[in-house]
């Protein structure tokens, strides 16, 4: 009753909603980078919404199925083959003993999600299966998936398959608008600098991983170089002394000492986590009332 990893993936990890209430001792929240794709995968399988999932960040991952189950594949648009037969993303599939699932080239977007009915049976570290490699927590022994890893699950009967309506399947475009809540050290950025931040276009660099996303563009000046280290939120935008914004994501440090101009709305960070380097980014301001309304709407749509 398992899925076996057949090749050596560059970066595929077990994730779930994240690891909460341990930040006070330095344990990061971790969790899936794109909650939209994650929640849909679990919803399509009628799984509890916080079930674990495989997050695949680079092309070419092969699994062998050892028992019948239903899987869902969402996220980045990619080549999918089940026993060499091409399949589409944002759908569920019944698979059985001996089937080979191959996630080939990632075409649009950058992170693919694969879940199984009922989730994988993996012991949790502090209430979560999310893998944070630098902390050696989650997944199987705190590491990414490796060749020969076996992921157990409970067998499930063949059942009807579902496909997400096309209007709900996101398009991963070359331009992305991120809504920003001015916050933290905003008072140390002059009106002109804030104006600059919202009126210029930034480019996603190769410095982009589960910890954060570094941008390149018109430098933003902060009146102070550093601050006393403090707690960092998901989506926080650090402005180091070179003026190039860094958006902090799921594997961010819990505390840090760079000034922050604000925070990207979390649901927009999910979109950011699917873009490729060189994507153009624009920031637009949002109020706290509006931001909280949008966030509630997002999660309500999955309940």
């Amino acid at each position: 009753m398992s899925l076996e990893v057949i090749n050596t993936p560059i970066l595929a990890t077990i994730q779930d909603k994240g690891r909460f209430s341990y930040s006070y001792i330095g344990v990061t929240n971790s969790g899936v980078m794109d909650e939209y794709a994650y929640l849909h995968a679990n919803k399509m399988l009628r799984n509890p919404l916080d079930s674990n999932i495989i997050e695949i960040s680079f092309s070419n991952v092969i699994f062998k199925v050892n028992k019948s189950t239903q899987i869902a594949i969402t996220g980045a648009i990619c080549e999918i083959f089940i026993n060499e037969v091409p399949k589409k993303s944002w759908q569920t599939y019944n698979v059985k003993n001996g089937d080979i699932i191959k996630i080939g080239k990632i075409l649009e977007g950058s992170r693919v999600y694969l879940s199984v009915s009922g989730g994988f049976d993996i012991k949790k570290d502090f209430g979560s299966n999310s893998t944070t490699i630098k902390e050696k927590l989650g997944g199987l022994n705190g590491d990414k998936l490796n060749k020969g890893d076996i992921l157990f699950f409970k067998e499930c009967e063949k059942t009807f398959n579902v496909r997400l309506k096309s209007e709900y399947i996101p398009k991963y475009e070359e331009n992305l608008e991120l809504r920003v809540l001015l916050s933290y050290q905003e008072e140390f950025f002059s009106k002109d600098e804030i104006e600059k931040f919202f009126s210029n276009t930034y480019t996603v660099t190769n410095d982009f991983n589960r910890m954060g996303c570094k941008l390149r563009g018109e430098p933003i000046k902060c009146e102070i170089d550093g601050i006393i280290s403090e707690g960092i939120s998901f989506g926080a935008i650090q402005i180091p002394s070179d003026g190039q914004p860094i958006i902090l994501l799921k594997d961010r440090q819990t505390i840090g000492g760079y000034p922050k101009i604000g925070s990207v709305l979390s649901i927009d960070c999910f979109k950011l986590s699917q873009v490729k380097p060189n994507t153009k980014i624009n920031f637009i301001p949002i109020s706290i009332q509006e931001a909280q309304k949008k966030l509630k709407l997002f999660y309500s749509s999955f309940m």
């Binding site: 707690g231 939120s233 926080a236 819990t254 840090g256 925070s263 709305l265 909280q292």
Partner: protein, 224 residues
């Protein structure tokens, strides 16, 4: 207490804008008070040098309702005696593990023995925990040995390394890249998945380093 928005579902409370014991004590009191209130819908509480970060469930609170609630319920008006609880960290200060002792001796014009004395004679406060699980920022190191971070960080600082960066000192709970000056090593486990408390540190606690010889370090399970 100054409240600010941190993100769509988090806020930060500032208790001052410098690093000192007075402000740290306020942070500690507010943190204890928050733990005692045990409010439903509070997800993370991260105390640091002069602030407390709080993330929350927006289906339970909006920013203003939580700010209001906290302003009216956080209590700083009590005495704490936690700081009497001193955690001693046995440390082997040999040059075979204190990889920067010789360099520091050149920079500070102090003998290695003096550096060890200055480091181990002081009582430190835990100001913040972060960077890595169980990594505690301790202060303040004697100015005479307050050397800045290495110009080029090491790719790997060995687990248990006792280190200095300016007036801060810390122990690396696991192998990690880092730029702090290494003065010794401890065999103490600083982040243990199998223990209920996970980490022996908490903000506001007092720490003392106790010099031990190589033999004792090895007996305690230390690795060279």
């Amino acid at each position: 207490m100054i409240f600010k928005i941190a993100s769509v579902d988090s806020l930060i409370i500032y208790f001052g804008s410098e690093i000192n014991q007075d402000i740290s004590t306020k942070v500690k009191k507010a943190y204890l008070s928050l733990k005692q209130l045990n409010l439903e819908g509070i997800i993370e509480i991260i105390p640091s040098y002069s602030s407390i970060f709080i993330s929350y469930d927006i289906f339970k609170y909006d920013y203003y309702s939580l700010k209001n609630k906290l302003e009216n319920s956080i209590n700083l008006d009590f005495e704490t005696d936690i700081s009497d609880d001193i955690l001693t960290i046995d440390t082997y200060y040999g040059v075979d593990v204190g990889l920067d002792l010789e360099d520091m001796s050149l920079k500070t014009k102090l003998s290695i023995e003096d550096i060890i004395d200055l480091h181990s004679n002081k009582l430190y406060d835990v100001y913040a925990i972060g960077f890595l699980p169980g990594f505690a920022y301790l202060a303040s190191v004697d100015e005479k040995i307050a050397v800045p971070r290495l110009a080029t960080p090491r790719k790997i600082i060995p687990k248990g390394s006792v280190s200095i960066a300016n007036t801060q000192t810390a122990v690396y709970p696991q192998n990690s890249p880092g730029g702090w000056n290494i003065v010794g090593r401890t065999a103490m486990e600083l982040f243990d998945k199998n223990l209920e408390s996970l980490s022996p540190f908490f903000v506001g606690q007092k720490i003392k380093f106790n010099p031990i010889c190589k033999e004792e370090f090895l007996n305690q399970g230390g690795v060279l």
